[in-house]
């Protein structure tokens, strides 16, 4: 049985706002029968204030899908739609006192339904960023296509490198065999053989030779270079801590909890590594808290 929090169970057994809202002026449909999860979110938005007056859900799915839908409607009722768009899937999971890692996709579905409903309200066309590949890393919800693309783009050769670039495999390690298969296949395309004993390649560039303060400032400068890209997608990044080769950042706005967050982190890591001329690793701020807790 899944380890569902009391809050998840409560929202599953007594869901709030179940059913369609009367006179809804925003409808967001995500999922499908074939994938076993589907959510229709209906909103009644006040056209003058853009406040969500009422929200209702209809969900076909497992316990955590129903609980996530219920939580989402509770969170966004009374919010202005612009503010509601800032609700991340992590916010939904937090509201429920957490979801099992394998069930995080249920909260992602909630966030996507909200985006789809707002797009519908505004008369825009909403496109999701789902990839078609099979889910490889269940802990961080990373699929085959994302791993393949990252491996090709960066010439990766080891599972450790894949983990560094995409986070895939950084959790329970059950997917390491799957990652090795992807590496084997992509290396074979180049006529090379996957070597399970290879050591992750260090980026061979001279050490920056900067003082701690200079290095910190340089990192901030490099993040500023990336920032406009993220802001264009209604997101941002914040430097939290620098600990030797580990650089901890916090994703903000739409970047937080985005399905592509791991790719974004990978991109930031690459930019910082090149700019500093060092082999560094960019990790989410939660990882800092986790490591601190483990050391305590």
């Amino acid at each position: 049985m899944w380890d569902y929090s009391e809050k998840v169970q409560e929202h599953f057994f007594s869901p709030r706002n179940a059913g369609a809202v009367d006179d809804a002026n925003a409808i967001g449909d995500v999922g499908s029968l074939s994938c076993g999860d589907a959510l229709r979110l209906t909103l009644k938005v006040d056209p003058d204030s853009e406040v969500i007056l009422d929200a209702g859900f209809q969900t076909f799915g497992c316990g955590s899908a129903i609980a996530s839908s219920s939580a989402l409607t509770e969170i966004i009722k009374g919010m202005k739609i612009d503010d509601a768009l800032g609700v991340s899937n992590q916010d939904i999971a937090d509201y429920l006192d957490g979801l099992p890692p394998e069930k995080m996709h249920c909260s992602v579905m909630g966030r996507e339904a909200l985006q789809a409903a707002v797009a519908n309200y505004r008369g825009e066309e909403w496109k999701d960023d789902h990839e078609e590949g099979a889910l490889i890393c269940k802990c961080f919800a990373i699929d085959e296509v994302m791993i393949e693309e990252t491996v090709r783009a960066n010439g990766l050769r080891t599972v450790e490198e894949v983990t560094n670039y995409t986070k895939a495999g950084g959790g329970c390690s059950a997917c390491h065999e799957g990652i090795e298969e992807i590496l084997t296949r992509i290396l074979a395309e180049k006529g090379e053989t996957f070597d399970p004993n290879a050591v992750a390649g260090e980026i061979k560039k001279p050490k920056s030779g900067l003082t701690n303060l200079q290095r910190m400032k340089r990192i901030e400068e490099l993040l500023d270079e990336i920032r406009p890209n993220l802001q264009r997608d209604h997101g941002d990044v914040e430097l939290v801590e620098v600990d030797g080769r580990y650089i901890y950042v916090k994703m903000i706005g739409a970047c937080a909890g985005c399905q592509m967050a791991a790719t974004t982190l990978g991109g930031i890591q690459q930019h910082l590594a090149e700019g500093l001329g060092e082999f560094i690793q960019v990790l989410p701020a939660e990882e800092l808290a986790r490591r601190a807790a483990m050391e305590a």
Binding site: F12, L33, G36, A38, F60, C62, A65, I66
Partner: protein, 408 residues
């Protein structure tokens, strides 16, 4: 029978695991205390345990109808037995590089076969029809000198559909091919008489027939070429090294003896309860159907697909009412796909995600069954009320089209 409706609730997940019979527990307990000797030892402490193992081997032999007790190899579980059988056949016949199995096997066989494919073996996966039945003609055509082993389950764990393994084993024998059956779900529920069949190897698992978890058996017909999975000491005649799990072996022996006695009850009374359960639910709930082969099915297994709702959600509500069942839907197993068995049977997506397996044992009672029949309709109604594919008393018109996200 006392029923399982205790403080723990009603247990209808016996294809996952069974309760250990009280008589079995009683039989095994001394092997944790005074009977602690190593059966391989020459002194009296070991000798007593050694004789207990011999008795257990006889008890298993009797249930399986095997010709010799030396054909029984104790293992740790069904998965180990399956792996041993398949890998032994490949190693013992290095010239044969093909395997025949089915798309609906347990992961114990399927995952191993997928792994062997990567190592260069050719695996033929027999398909099933909508009732979960095999095409014997297709099977017959695949048998050749290149095939090292056929591995086909006797009874499917999800649908309960039975495969004609005795007939298939005979065809394999004629073609000179080894035949293994994963009989984990069949042993104890159906009469088996191996000496009258052409089955060369058979796997069983103790915890599916009221023995504890962690004990299994590989039946290996005398004379079949064999390569052990675990090498080491001389236990099990060198065919499975490692100190015997003596208490569990004794327990399995007792469980086999009890299964032998309960066989008629399984076939008649357990089946009657199962049939009443199905009929009761089908009468009270619309838009649901029973999966599997209606004419050739395990007597204890009931798999019902409820349309427009999802299995895990049903299980959570059942569990709240004290009823334990299982779902073929993926959410329970951590994957996002519906069960490979339901997909292989081409159960439509509208229902495949909502399949629930209710598997009975001789410890269930008719009273429990009636309570489950009463519990099911409100649970299904509650979830359908939440579903975007359901409106009022029935599904929305053309559900697949009615709910079509713009990106799909």
């Amino acid at each position: 029978m006392s029923g399982t409706d205790t403080a723990e609730g009603i247990y209808l997940d016996n294809n996952a695991t069974t309760m250990v019979a009280p008589e079995v527990v009683e039989e095994m307990l001394p092997y944790f205390t005074e009977q602690f000797g190593n059966p391989s030892s020459l002194h009296q402490f070991g000798d007593k345990v050694g004789r207990a193992l011999k008795k257990a081997r006889k008890q298993v032999q009797t249930l399986l109808g095997a010709e010799y007790d030396s054909e029984i190899i104790f293992t740790s579980c069904g998965t180990e037995s399956d792996s041993t059988a398949i890998l032994s056949a490949l190693k013992a016949q290095p010239d044969r590089k093909e395997i025949i199995t089915t798309v609906v096997e347990h992961p114990a066989v399927l995952t191993l076969c997928e792994h062997l494919e990567k190592e260069g073996y050719k695996v033929h996966y027999l398909k099933v029809d909508s009732k979960g039945r095999l095409d014997i003609q297709e099977y017959y055509k695949l048998l050749s000198d290149n095939v090292a082993i056929v591995s086909v389950m006797w009874a499917n764990n999800e649908s309960g559909t039975l495969f004609p393994v005795e007939e298939m084993a005979e065809l394999a024998r004629q073609a000179g091919v080894l035949f293994h059956t994963d009989a984990v779900q069949a042993v104890g529920k159906l009469p088996i008489n191996l000496k009258d069949t052409c089955i060369d190897m058979l796997s069983l698992s103790g915890h599916k027939l009221h023995a504890p978890k962690g004990i299994g058996v590989l039946y290996l017909r005398r004379g079949v070429r064999f390569r052990p999975l675990l090498r080491g000491g001389h236990q099990e005649r060198g065919r499975r090294a490692g100190t015997e799990n003596a208490a569990s072996i004794v327990a399995l022996g007792k469980a086999c003896e009890m299964a032998m006695e309960a066989m008629e009850y399984e076939k008649s009374s357990v089946k009657a309860m199962r049939d009443r359960l199905e009929q009761g639910i089908l009468e009270k709930v619309n838009h649901c159907f029973v999966t599997g082969d209606p004419n050739n099915r395990l007597p204890n297994t009931c798999n019902i697909a409820f349309e427009y709702i999802e299995g895990e959600a049903i299980l959570l509500l059942l569990n709240k009412m004290g009823i334990a069942a299982s779902s073929g839907s993926a959410c329970t197993s951590g994957s996002l796909e519906p069960s490979h068995v339901m997909r292989a049977m081409d159960i439509p997506f509208t229902a495949a995600h909502g399949s629930v397996r209710l598997s009975l044992s001789r410890y269930n009672t008719m009273e429990e069954i009636e309570r489950v029949i009463d519990a099911m309709p409100p649970i299904v109604a509650q979830l359908r009320q939440l579903s975007p594919y359901w409106s009022g008393d029935g599904p929305v018109e053309e559900p697949e089209k009615a709910f079509a996200p713009s990106y799909a």
